[in-house]
């Protein structure tokens, strides 16, 4: 399993691996929104939590179709399915690798982009906390969507349509944590719900994704 994780990270960081695509997209959103909305600090502070979370979510969505599609095309997925590693483990490791190259960097740069959007002071801690708790769910749900659409040529559109509704609860609770945190209010309820979604997705979806891949490989 460690070998698979290291290979996926190595592939992501080598030329053409797609690392940085999500980050660049996130940066673009955070830079362009103030230009489009206007420079009023009060307006920006009000929309900052929502924009930051929507930006992170869409940035995550960009690279989802690569999770399994590339391995399917070159035959690696067939070979992984017949390898000693259970397919559920393959899914979990690949989702974790996806989080390490998208979710984690997004979480780390989010406070910097929060400045561009005039996020109120108390919100920064909760922005990082909510992204840290929520982005693993985005990767795992995305891996499930990618498993459902593996083998479909240009499956990106279908993948987005399948995955977006599943992303909605994470988005709602994630943005709510930042909104309440920025206003200095109590955040524990949405934060716990957010963490609960992540924990549930981590526990269940690798099995669902592995089943979907088995069907798609037939």
């Amino acid at each position: 399993m460690r070998a698979l994780l290291l290979r996926d990270l190595r592939l992501a960081f080598r030329a053409g691996g797609g690392f940085g695509l999500g980050l660049a997209f996130f940066l673009l959103v955070a830079v362009l929104v103030p230009l489009g909305v206007g420079p009023e600090p009060a307006t920006l502070a009000k929309i900052a939590p929502g924009i930051l979370w929507v930006g992170a979510l869409l940035a995550c969505l960009l690279s989802l179709d690569r999770i399994f599609a590339l391995d399917f095309e070159d035959g690696s997925l067939d070979l992984l399915a017949t390898s000693p590693i259970p397919l559920e483990g393959v899914v979990a490791v690949k989702a974790f690798a996806h989080w390490l190259v998208t979710g984690l960097p997004l979480t780390l740069v989010a406070p910097v982009l929060g400045v561009l959007l005039n996020l109120p002071g108390p919100g920064y801690l909760w922005l990082v906390a909510s992204l840290a708790a929520g982005t693993p769910a985005l990767s795992v749900i995305g891996a499930f969507g990618a498993a459902l659409t593996v083998g479909i040529k240009r499956g990106g559109l279908l993948l987005s349509l399948l995955v977006l509704p599943l992303y909605v609860p994470t988005l709602i609770f994630g943005a709510e944590v930042v909104k309440r945190g920025a206003a200095g209010a109590e955040v524990s309820v949405p934060l716990l719900l957010l963490a609960g979604i992540t924990a549930g997705a981590l526990a269940l979806l690798p099995f669902a994704a592995a089943a979907a891949i088995r069907v798609n490989l037939r």
């Binding site: 460690r2 070998a3 698979l4 290979r7 190595r10 592939l11 080598r14 030329a15 053409g16 691996g17 095309e73 070159d74 035959g75 690696s76 067939d78 070979l79 992984l80 399915a81 017949t82 390898s83 000693p84 590693i85 490989l217 037939r218």
Partner: protein, 206 residues
């Protein structure tokens, strides 16, 4: 351990292609599968490898004892020859990467990226993967595609070495590998008469 296939029926896309396929393969033996295009050679091999369920029949060996090599080599273009092989060796928990490269004549190419290999060199790398799986039964689908005469002979030698160590090989090929000792099974007689599958809604839950 021996591989016994008993009255196996396999289907592709809901259409049964082969039925009643029975053969036995003892340790140290190889079996060449022949048959016209579309008869179901690939489907049979994928079923044996555990990638799809059989319609009927029984396979004695568990999928964990087989390793499958098909048209796609499972190579990553941005990784070097050694990294590609090392990955599969680590996945299977066995060593012998250097030995595998030596036996498939890849040592000169070890630091070259798979993207810069010729089709034949890629194929040799894909076949070298078999040596780092540590599995006794090799299931090979047209292994000699894009190999030149010398490489075919090299690979035949590798298969012979595997058989000599008590391994088994099941090879679907149109090209003569020069494995004179291997038995040949013609799949044409096993072609399913009723080619329309049961179909229906229940297939989605099969």
């Amino acid at each position: 351990m021996e591989l016994v296939v008993d009255k196996l029926a396999v289907a592709r896309g809901g259409v049964t292609l082969l039925e009643g396929v029975s053969f036995a393969l003892a340790p140290g033996r190889a079996l060449i599968l022949r048959g016209p295009n579309g008869v179901g050679k690939t489907t049979l091999l994928r079923t044996l490898a555990g990638l799809q369920p059989a319609v009927a029949g029984r396979v004695s060996a568990p999928p964990e004892s087989l390793t499958y090599a098909a048209h796609a080599d499972g190579l990553k273009a941005v990784l070097t020859v050694e990294e590609n092989l090392g990955f599969w060796a680590a996945i299977h928990g066995v060593g012998g990467v250097g030995d595998a490269m030596a036996r498939m004549n890849l040592l000169d190419l070890r630091d070259r990226r798979a993207a810069n290999l010729s089709a034949g060199q890629k194929r040799r790398l894909g076949l070298a993967r078999l040596l780092v799986t540590g599995r006794p039964i090799w299931v090979l689908d047209e292994p000699t595609v894009s190999l030149d005469v010398a490489s075919v002979a090299l690979f035949a030698g590798v298969v012979r070495g595997h058989l000599a160590q008590g391994g088994m090989a099941l090879i679907a090929t149109h090209i003569d590998l020069g494995l004179d000792e291997a038995a040949v099974l013609d799949l044409a007689p096993f072609k399913a008469r009723v080619t329309v599958g049961s179909g229906g809604f229940d297939e989605a839950f099969a």
